[in-house]
Every structure is written in structure tokens, then in C-alpha cells.
């Protein structure tokens, strides 16, 4: 017993020290603004200074963009804490309806009848405000030694992912790429093994543009049995970078190290770009039967507009039009205004590689009008 005593004391002391270090206060980057808020109107601020905590959750696709928005917004409103838990659209929507969140990020908008009302934090009759805030080109990315880009038509992409085209020197690929030195190499299509909005948008694109080759329809869970599966965007990126001859679909921001395919839009070959993605949304029409604040697009995957890139992921922020709590209403309104502003959209583009909605004036105007409706 005595033998172990000094050692025991030492261990306990170490543990206590670690614990103390962790508990001793806030993180250095989290100064409590509430303490130095004595002066009502802070100097130089053009906006009304808000207070409080705003909780959001949902789509993991928005995670990097939300990081930028939170940081930018706290710069404008140092008294506000914004949380965003990128746990997934499904979980987020469920929790928003149950009333635990101020706003929710979701890859798939609420159904039209769901958007009419009945959500936790909203007043009873309040419909939802839904706006597209995060538009990201989905890149058909591949890893093929010596080949930096390819032209792939929708039906060729579908055939590759269903396994009908299984070699890179297949005549169907060669026909669209006369210049490329296509190797005699097995194609390894990689798909997401987790349920994801990216898969949903990719399959939606294929079923719209190559209905004959792609019969599985739109689905967030990969429907085919062939090919490799990979967990999350990063698993996909790791898989694509690891093997020669792989091809997959990735949000553009994370596909920088890979080769990108241009897809066929009308009769043109279009490379993925932020402008093209925003344009594709602008070329789409609003879904019918929705409220005025419910800006949900029926994406026109078959657009032939010059320069549009219709293989995109559009992720929405959903909020109440009228909140039970006035302060929450103010916070949400202020946050969404920032998110949809040019500054917010550019910040997201810089951290996540998304396409700013503000590059399309009409789209931007519709979104702003919807955000204006938020109140208490």
C-alpha cells in the first residue's frame, strides 16, 4: 500500500492538472461577448447588434460552407452564437419539426404539404421559408494515369456506373474523346456507401438525362450492386486517389486533386464550374404549389442553356416564416440575410468551393425576397 502511494499521488495530480487545464475557462477563441456588452450601440456598427444563441443542424454537404458563414456572421454579430451540427439532412429535418432548431440545412427540401406548417419552433399557421443557399457542382472525377480530362455523355456515365461499360478503351468513350490515349484498363466505378444527398442528385441527373441507361431512378442510397462503395465524400476521395482506373462523383470542392470529366449539355461539352452550376439553377423553374417563401427549384437537368452545368447539388436552408420567439426570429432572419448576401456566398465559395447564388441576379432576388418574410 505504501509503495504505490507516491505513484498514486503523482497520477492523481497529473489527472487533476489535465482536468483543470481543460475546465479552467473558455477556449481562447471564445471570449464571452456578453461580458463587455455594457455599451448599447457599439461604435461603427451599422447593424442592430443582436444577442443569443441560434441552433441549426442538418446536411453535412453544407458543413464547410456553414463553417465560413458562422465565422463571418460572428464577425458582424459578436453577441450571437450560431451552432450547426452537420449530422445529416434526415436527422436535421426530424429535429426541426420536433422544435429543437432555429433553422435546418437539408439536401432535399421538405415536401410541399410538409412545408405548409406544423413545425416546432414556428407559430401554428406559419409556413416554411426554404431557400437554396449552397450550390455545388458534382464532379464526375476519375483517376487515370496521364489523362487530365475526358468528355462523358450522360448515357456513357450511366453505363459506366451500371457496369455495362467496363473498360476505359470502350468505343463509346473513345468516340467522344478522339484525342485521348485511352488505356486498356478496367473501370472501377466508386459510389457512396452511406446514404447521401450527393448520390441523390447524381442519380436524379442520370435518370433525367439518360433514362434508358439508368433505370433505378433517383435515390439517396446507391441502388446498383457493382463497383466500390466509399463512406462519405472523403472516403470517395481516398478511394479515387488510391486506385488507377477509378471513377466517382464528388462535390467539386473536394475533388481538386482528381481529373474532371466534362459532361454533355445539349450538344456542348461543359466542364464543371461554379458559374455553370449557378446558371443551371437559374435556368430551372420553381416547383409549383409552394408558398411564396418556399423557393424550391425543380432542377432542370436537361437544360441546354449555354454554359450551364446541371449535375449539381442544391442544398437548402429551411426556417419558419413566423417564429414563436421574437429573438429567434431576429437571429434567423439576420443569419439568413448574411448567408444569402454576396459576402456570405463568397465566404462559402472560398472555404467550400461552392457556387455563389449571387452570380445570378434573378435567383438572388427570389431568395432575398423569401428571406425578408422571416419574422415573428
Amino acid at each position: 500500500m505504501k509503495l504505490g502511494k507516491t505513484r498514486r499521488v503523482a497520477v492523481t495530480a497529473t489527472a487533476a492538472a489535465v482536468l483543470l487545464a481543460a475546465m479552467s475557462g473558455c477556449a481562447a477563441n471564445e471570449e464571452q461577448p456578453n461580458d463587455n456588452q455594457s455599451s448599447g450601440g457599439s461604435a461603427g456598427a451599422t447593424q442592430e447588434q443582436l444577442q443569443g444563441e441560434l441552433n441549426g443542424a442538418g446536411a453535412s454537404s453544407q458543413s464547410a460552407a456553414q463553417e465560413a458563414w458562422k465565422a463571418g456572421f460572428v464577425g458582424l454579430q459578436p453577441g450571437v452564437t450560431v451552432n450547426y451540427d452537420p449530422q445529416g439532412s434526415g436527422v436535421g429535418r426530424e429535429q426541426f419539426t420536433a422544435g429543437g432548431l432555429g433553422f435546418v440545412g437539408t439536401d432535399a427540401p421538405f415536401k410541399a404539404d410538409e412545408a405548409k406548417g406544423g413545425h416546432g419552433s414556428c407559430t401554428e399557421a406559419s409556413p416554411l421559408v426554404e431557400v437554396p443557399v449552397y450550390i455545388s457542382p458534382i464532379v464526375v472525377a476519375f483517376n487515370l494515369e496521364g489523362i487530365a480530362s475526358l468528355n462523358l455523355a450522360p448515357n456513357v456515365i450511366a453505363d459506366i456506373f451500371t457496369g455495362k461499360i467496363s473498360n476505359w478503351n470502350d468505343p463509346a468513350i473513345a468516340a467522344d474523346n478522339p484525342e485521348a490515349q485511352l488505356p486498356d484498363l478496367r473501370i472501377v466505378p466508386v459510389h457512396r456507401s452511406d446514404k447521401s444527398g450527393t448520390t441523390g442528385n447524381f442519380t436524379d441527373y442520370l435518370s433525367a438525362t439518360a433514362a434508358q441507361a439508368w433505370t433505378a431512378g433517383e435515390t439517396e442510397e446507391w441502388p446498383e450492386s457493382g463497383g466500390e462503395g466509399a463512406e462519405k465524400t472523403q472516403g470517395m476521395v481516398e478511394a479515387l486517389s488510391a486506385g488507377n482506373g477509378t471513377i466517382g462523383y464528388v462535390d467539386a470542392g473536394q475533388a481538386k486533386a482528381l481529373s474532371w470529366a466534362s459532361i454533355k449539355v445539349g450538344e456542348e461539352w461543359v466542364a464543371p464550374s461554379a458559374e455553370g452550376a449557378a446558371k443551371a439553377v437559374a435556368e430551372s423553374s420553381l416547383e409549383e404549389g409552394r408558398g411564396e417563401g418556399d423557393v424550391v427549384y425543380e432542377l432542370n437537368r436537361t437544360t441546354t442553356a449555354a454554359g450551364a452545368y446541371p449535375l449539381i447539388l442544391v442544398s437548402y436552408l429551411a426556417a419558419c416564416e413566423k417564429y414563436e420567439d421574437a429573438n429567434t426570429a431576429q437571429l434567423v432572419s439576420s443569419y439568413l440575410k448574411y448567408v444569402t448576401s454576396d459576402a456570405g456566398q463568397q465566404a462559402a465559395a472560398a472555404n467550400a468551393g461552392s457556387a455563389p447564388i449571387t452570380s445570378e441576379a434573378d435567383l438572388s432576388a427570389k431568395v432575398s425576397a423569401a428571406v425578408e418574410r422571416i419574422g415573428s
Partner: protein, 310 residues
Amino acid sequence: MTLTLTRKAPQSDAVATFASCRPTWRRRTKDRLATTAVVGAAVLTAVPLTLVIWAAIQRGSERLDLTLFTNSMRGVVGQGGGLLHALTGTLLITAATAVISIPLGISAAIYLTEYGGQTRLASITRRAVDIMVSIPSIVAGLAAYALFSLLLGPGTRSGLAGAVALAMIMIPVVVRASEEVLRLVPGDLREAGLALGSPKWRVIWRIVLPTALPGLTAGSVLGVARIIGETAPLLLVAGFTDAMNYNLAEGRMATLPVYIYTQWSAKGLDTAAYDQRAWAGALVLMAVVVVLQVAARALPPQIAKLRRNR
């Protein structure tokens, strides 16, 4: 597999094989081969550990700076930021789990050894503990999710829910370890106490528990080490946030394993910054667990002694 091992009776085999005094060449070679295999296995075990630690140092050591321990991820875009919020969350949730599991587990073990005996309740509890040992951690997470979504509505996330999930894993470990340790306390000690006229509970409180204390502590530390690296259940019920949260009862709470996972899975354009944070987080988590293991080793000198006397 292990089932192929010899089942012959030891004595007869021994007599048959060892008839001569000097081992033949064949037997000596076999012996040497076996030694090589055993040493090989030992080396082989060290290989993956070395590789994992090396990978973590190589990829994470760059971010092992002071900022990592003084900052959270609030307002951080790309480079910078830290894991203080996740470290705090891990410590809080682990502490809460321990507060639930250790008193409950040790008390149940006291009942089993000192009071229960072969009663119906004791055998039910033992059976329950046996079953709980085989609860996979993600199932514990699902159970906590089901419980809290029934109580507080779907999608509820809190540090407490995480602690409840982890407690389902930790309780059986503590009960098993404590029961074993309490049995090792010599019966003479109890009898001496009882003979002096002390009531039974005072004998347990004053004599049995102090004697078993180092072992009970070791068992508890063991339980903590088992749960501190758990990811899946916390991902389901504790959620993730980038800011400090000291309140177990409300709001999402970051933990180190989940921090590592989200830094890996949800990156911005500057992917290197996220990767470095993930691996630095891995180093910190491993260090925390090593401190615990060392503590568990430093604590129980009696245990080994008691075990030998058995």
C-alpha cells in the same frame, strides 16, 4: 483456430515423449521453431502499433501546438483552431459515465458477493450483466437514442445521452471487475470484524471495501478506458458542435473521437488543415488513454498479491 490445440491428457503424453533425457535433434528443432514463432508473434504485435503511432505523428505532429489545447473550432475557417471543446466534452461525458456506472456497478457487485449469494435476484443480475457485456457499442447508442427520443422528442442530442449510452457499456465491466476483486478479500477479515460485534454493513464499509479499494479503482479505470475512445454511440446521440459546451443536460457536445471523425469527413478546401487536426486529435486521445492505463497499472499493488494467494 484455437480449437485444434491438443486435448490429450498431459501425463501420458509427457511420459511417451520425454522418454530420453537429451532431446533429439528433431525435438530441439521443433522447440527452436516454436520459440521463433512466439518471438515473431510478439514482434508482429508491435508492428501495427508502431505503424499507427508513426502515421499519427507524421500527419498530426505539426498541429501539436499550444493553440490546439487553448482553442475550440468556433469561428475557425481553414487553418488554425483547436480541440479544447472536444477534450472538455470527452472529459465531461466520461466523468458523467463514471458517476453513473461506478457507484451502481460497485454496489451491485457488493450485493452479489456479500448479500445475494445464490438468491434468485443475484442470479438474474449476474445473467443480466453477462448479457450486457455483449451489447455492441452502436446498439447501446441506438438504445440511448430510442430512450431520449421517446422522452424528449426525436433528434435530441446531449452529452447526457452520450453518457447514458456509454454507461450501458461500462456498467457490466465495473460489476464484473468489482465482483472478482471483492471475492478476493479473505473471508477471515470479515469474520474477524463480525466476531468483534460490528454489524455487517460496517464490516463491509470499514474492512472489505478499503481492502479491495485498489482493485475496485483498477476495475473502474478499466471501464473508463473501455469507453473513452468510443465513437459510434456518441455520433448518434451526443452530436457535434464546434464550440465549448459545459452543460451535459442540454445541447450538442463535441468529443475527441467524434472530433477526429468530423475533421476527417467534413473538410473545407484547405484539406491539409483538417487532416492535421484529425491526426493531432488522434495523438491527444491516445495520450489520454495511455495516462489512464498507466494510472490503472500504478494503482493496484494488492490485486496481484491477492490473486496469487488464491
